[in-house]
């Protein structure tokens, strides 16, 4: 048997009706609005570029130390700091349209109240360059909204229902792992009209400075990300893929091309790299190369054939 040439592998995938050049994207909040990584990565080569969270008005974010490294991961307590949707349109989106017009953009949308999600989407809807919306109903670092929307299946559905009539573009609901039954939440947002689901957001965690007898983060808790949470994420992606029929974006500790394969086998159509970008700004490029090499080695011509291809033991 002749091995396939990695360059001949077809990495194209379709996700919620959009044709994308690869299954790779980035986790919201780890990649700015793309501009910050433009020295390192060709943004158009990403399957999609997921932006930081955008709210109707500027949010200041949290006080005190905002990150701390823990074993195989990090805790963050950024608090969705952003300059608001108007600033996002005039600075970030405008920059992307002039410097990376080919990039497919997923705008992560957040709000303290359900109507705030609607206000962001209403403002963005007329602007070119927005490919999809990702509804952030899962951030653990804000007091109002955020994760509280995503832990109750009824409220999660209400967010999707509120914004569904406002756009024909794909709506993705981003789910929190900090629930007892994530499949129930997934079924609920699918029924409410979500075109896709991304999971998982960060896992609620805590770090303590023993010598000072104090928590490290001012809010005491933060969101755990990085390789430490990958097994949790894989389990949840697998579980949700069997519960819904909409496509999934898998994320949570994915770092390498093999990690991308694992998430796809578990049922994800797309995979986001998050914390990995901090350590290596070329992480997405490298993961794509590794993904192609994996497919060549296993005689898989189309990357999309990996989706849900997990076998029984």
């Amino acid at each position: 048997m002749t091995l396939l040439d990695p360059q001949s592998i077809n990495t194209r995938i379709s996700f919620a009706g959009l044709e994308l050049c690869s299954p790779l994207t980035v986790a919201s909040g780890t990649f700015g609005s793309g501009r910050e990584y433009a020295d390192f990565v060709d943004l158009a080569q990403l399957g999609a570029l997921t932006t930081k969270g955008v709210s109707p008005v500027a949010w200041a974010g949290n006080e005190g130390a905002r990150i701390t490294e823990v074993s195989s991961g990090m805790l963050n307590s950024i608090g969705l700091q952003n300059s608001g949707v108007d600033h996002f349109i005039h600075h970030d989106l405008a920059w992307l349209q002039s410097h990376a017009p080919e990039a497919k953009v997923i705008v992560n949308v957040c709000g303290h109240e359900i109507d705030e999600f609607a206000r962001v989407i209403e403002k963005l809807e007329d602007h070119h360059g927005v490919g999809m919306y990702e509804l952030n109903i899962s951030c653990p670092n804000v007091d109002n909204g955020g994760m509280s929307f995503g832990t109750d299946p009824k409220v999660a559905a209400q967010v999707v229902e509120r914004v569904r009539p406002l756009t024909k573009k794909p709506l993705i609901a981003k789910l929190t792992p900090n629930v007892t039954d994530i499949a129930e939440i997934a079924r609920s947002v699918e029924a409410a009209g979500a075109d896709g689901i991304s999971l998982i957001n960060t896992v609620l965690g805590m770090a303590i400075d023993a010598h000072r007898f104090k928590p490290i983060l001012k809010r005491k808790v933060g969101g755990l990300s990085g390789p430490a949470i990958k097994p949790i994420a894989l389990r949840m992606v697998h579980e949700v893929s069997r519960a819904v029929s909409v496509p999934l974006i898998g994320l949570g500790g994915a770092t390498t091309g093999i990690d991308v394969v694992e998430f796809m086998l578990a049922g994800a159509t797309m995979v986001a790299l998050g914390t990995a970008n901090f350590k290596d700004p070329f992480a997405t490029d490298k993961a794509l190369i590794e993904l192609k090499e994996f497919c060549a080695l296993h005689d898989i011509e189309n990357v999309s054939d990996l989706v849900g291809a997990l076998k029984e033991i």
Partner: protein, 271 residues
């Protein structure tokens, strides 16, 4: 006075450990061969170093000296990352750095005199600035302080800048016995300085800024924050300024003190 200088086009470079030795109690100096980085770095900027593949995050380090193709970093051993860094051996260790990161200290106008004020390890990046000013023919005076003489880490800088350095120690073991604010005040009373560059523990920087405010002299501080990406994406290193929230990694680390909301700086500083 010009604003702090912004630089673009960071890159990633694999660098080799040239030497790595303890130069004071719990303070080390690592020298890295980084030909491209060495020629781009300006005083005040930092590099974002991946110390070990098993760490999740890089660590930011200021640079104290450039020697042709090499960059010199003084670091205090304060945690897991810096503990691992002490174990890096000469020539057989390669690490990845992102840089040059952040802005640099603006040089004063021709003919004006600068005051450099470094506390503890904060004297290290000022050593590079001192060398830049010396090369540019700019007149300056350098004051360094530490808890005790062994922790005044830039004593050797006088060789490359060919002038005496003034010292202050908390215990009087070297130079002035007391806080650095006293010699700063004495210098500024001469009226000959148009700019002050300060670097060190944030509480010391605040005290120096308070002294400088009485003399209405432009004062640049250098801030330190925990950061993940080092390139402006993650918003970990936020600092409140009169222009709104800014990022220490790209808008700083050098800030004009009057632009900062110093109350906020105190709240969010590293402990």
């Amino acid at each position: 006075m010009c604003q702090t200088s912004q630089h673009e086009h960071k890159h990633v470079e694999n660098v080799e450990v040239v030497s790595n030795v303890e130069i004071a109690p719990r303070v080390w100096m690592v020298v890295l061969r980084a030909p491209k980085m060495a020629h781009l770095l300006r005083a005040g900027q930092f590099v974002h170093l991946l110390i070990d593949e098993y760490l999740t995050l890089r660590r930011p380090f200021s640079v104290c000296q450039i020697r042709q193709d090499e960059i010199c970093i003084m670091y205090a051993v304060v945690g897991k990352g810096t503990e691992l860094l002490t174990q890096k051996k000469t020539h057989d260790e390669s690490m990845s750095v992102i840089g040059p990161c952040g802005n640099s200290w603006p040089h004063p106008a021709v003919g004006s005199k600068a005051l450099l004020v470094g506390g503890g390890l904060g004297a290290a990046p000022l050593g590079m600035l001192a060398h830049e000013l010396f090369e540019a023919g700019t007149d300056f005076h350098f004051i360094q302080a530490g808890r005790t003489d062994s922790l005044v880490i830039g004593r050797g800088f006088h060789e490359s800048i060919r002038r005496d350095i003034e010292f202050a120690t908390d215990d009087g073991s070297l130079g002035f016995h007391g806080l650095i604010t006293e010699p700063v005040k004495n210098s500024l009373q001469s009226g000959e300085y148009s700019v002050v560059y300060v670097c060190g523990p944030e509480i010391m920087q605040r005290a120096v800024v308070a002294v400088c405010a009485n003399f209405q002299v432009a004062t640049y501080v250098s801030l330190e924050r925990l950061m993940a990406c080092g390139i402006g994406a993650c918003l970990s290193c936020n600092v409140a300024t009169k222009q709104g929230p800014q990022k220490v990694c790209v808008d700083g680390p050098i800030f004009l003190s009057e632009d900062l909301e110093f109350d906020d700086v105190a709240r969010s500083s590293i402990h």
